[in-house]
Each structure stands twice: as structure tokens, then as C-alpha cells.
Amino acid sequence: MESKKIKKLLDSYFEGKTSISQERILRLYFTSTQDLPLKWEPHRVFFGYYNKVSLEAFPVQYSKHKSLIRPWMIAAAMVTLIISIQFATKINNKDKGPEVSQEEMEFAFHQFKESMKKLSINLNKGTQKIAYLDYLDQTTQKIIKKLL
């Protein structure tokens, strides 16, 4: 029976007599088996913990993602949009020239949103690349400084 073998391994484990590969068997068993008997709960937790912690790596951080879009840009865009809509509406009210339909206004707004999106994506792409180069540069600088 599997659990007899595990029991034997566990006894050996607590005596400090198991090999690395035997300990790996225990770890695999306790982290992957469902419905373990309650008395083995501690083992499930301990082996689970060791497993989890062994995966932790040195944190490699890129410089924080900085958006290049400033608040004033958003404000300016909004103002421009509002003015253009008002302008379009005024022309409409004076009953001179073609009416700007609801459809056309919606389309203009949609186009505006799309171009803001595109602008934002391009700015973000640039930011990521710059951040990565910045990180590489920092690390290289540190190493070079120490070597000199």
C-alpha cells in the first residue's frame, strides 16, 4: 500500500535519514495527493511551504511604468473636442449650411477616441522600451563601477 511506504519514509525523514530524492518523493506525495488523512495535515502544509518558497526568485524590477501623457494633454484634448462639438452645434442652430447629424457627431467622437487610443499605445510602447534600456544600463553601470 502506498501509504505504508510513505509512513516508512516519514519515519526515516524525522530521523534525518532520508536522501534528497526520498525527500522529493515525500514532497511530491504531500503536495499532490487529495484527501489526505488529518494526521498528515502538518506534512501537507510543511512540504507545500517548502515547495512554494523554493520558487521565490530574486526580484528583477523595471523602472515604474510612467505614462508620458500628462494631465494637461488630456484637458486640452477634451476642450478641443467640446469646442468642436459646440461649433458643430452652433452651425446647426443657425440653420445655415448642412446639418450635422447625430450620426456624424458620434462618428467624429469615435474617430477622436480611436486616435487617442493609438497615441496612448504608441506612447506606452516607447515607455516600456525605455524602461528596459534604463534597467540594463543601471545594472551595467553598477558592475562597471565596481570593476574599475
Partner: protein, 172 residues
């Protein structure tokens, strides 16, 4: 050391960096301190000339020894944020044995139990259970005989299990 480092060596260094990070975090607690410590250790390796480096039987063991000594020095100088030995383990709210406990909470207890171990014992657990070093490697790093390490390990494992059971039973 020349900047034209061979790729396998670089990969080894990256592996060592993670192990050193985990060890220093165990002792120095905060991420920042552990990162600083790790950088120090790695830079020390970079600064070694090739001749000295090739004479080491194990770059890894050497790195872990530097890391260990760094941690012990930091703890001695009391500049690091140390987990106070008086800190009590937060008892769980209510544990129903029928209800499945969130594994992360239990793992926090394990983490705290290990952090509360005396330094030597903490090292042994870190090196064996988490880094999975063979006894001869651990003996080299800690400068202790293999037999002693096994005895310690047996004792620590039993102690940890019993402490865990105590916490668990406390909540019923």
C-alpha cells in the same frame, strides 16, 4: 574578471543569486535588505580574478558562505530588522477541522516558526528543505560535521511538527 563572461557561468550566477536571495531574506526579513545583501555577494564574485575563482571547489558553496557571514554580521550589528524572539505567533481565529483551512494562512505559521528558530537551526532548514543541498555541501557551508547536521535536522523537523500541531490544536 572580463566582461566577456561565458554563458554557463552566467547561468550559474543567476541560480546562485536566487538561492542567496532566499537565504538572506530568511535572516534579514525585508526584501530591500535581502536584495542589498544579494547584490553584495554577487559583486564579490564578480570582483574575484579568474585564478582565485577556478581554485574554489564550489563557487556555490563559497557564495552561500559569504551570504551566511553577511547575515550573521548584520544581525549582530542590530541594524537589520530582526524578527523578535518574543514575537508570538498570531493564533488562528477558529479552526474547524472539518472546514478546509486556507493553505496560505497555515504557511504563514510555518514561515514564522522557522524564522523563530535559532540561527544555526534556521540555516540547516533553509539549506536542506528549501535549497535541497546534500549533507556534504551543508557541512562545507556551515563548517559542521555531516553527522551533527543530521542529528540537528532530525531534532528540528520533530520540533517544527510539534509546534505546528500545538498551534493547530489551540484553535479547536
Amino acid at each position: 574578471m572580463q566582461l566577456s563572461i561565458q554563458k554557463p557561468f552566467l547561468n550559474q550566477i543567476l541560480g546562485i543569486r536566487d538561492k542567496v536571495f532566499r537565504l538572506t531574506k530568511r535572516f534579514l526579513v525585508s526584501n530591500e535588505e535581502a536584495e542589498d545583501a544579494t547584490q553584495e555577494v554577487i559583486l564579490k564574485l564578480w570582483e574575484m580574478d579568474e585564478e582565485r575563482l577556478s581554485k574554489l571547489d564550489s563557487i556555490e558553496a563559497y557564495s552561500m558562505i559569504i551570504a551566511k557571514n553577511y547575515c550573521l554580521d548584520r544581525l549582530k550589528s542590530k541594524q537589520a530588522k530582526v524578527v523578535s524572539l518574543d514575537e508570538r505567533i498570531a493564533a488562528p481565529k477558529t479552526i474547524s477541522l472539518q472546514k478546509k483551512i486556507e493553505v496560505t494562512d497555515e504557511m504563514d505559521w510555518v514561515s514564522k516558526l522557522i524564522d523563530q528558530l535559532p540561527e544555526k537551526e534556521r540555516m540547516i532548514i533553509q539549506l536542506r528543505e528549501i535549497e535541497q543541498y546534500e549533507f556534504d555541501q551543508i557541512a562545507k557551508i556551515l563548517n559542521l560535521p555531516e553527522g551533527t547536521i543530521r542529528v540537528y535536522l532530525s531534532r528540528i523537523r520533530k520540533k517544527l511538527k510539534n509546534q505546528f500541531l500545538e498551534i493547530q490544536n489551540h484553535g479547536i
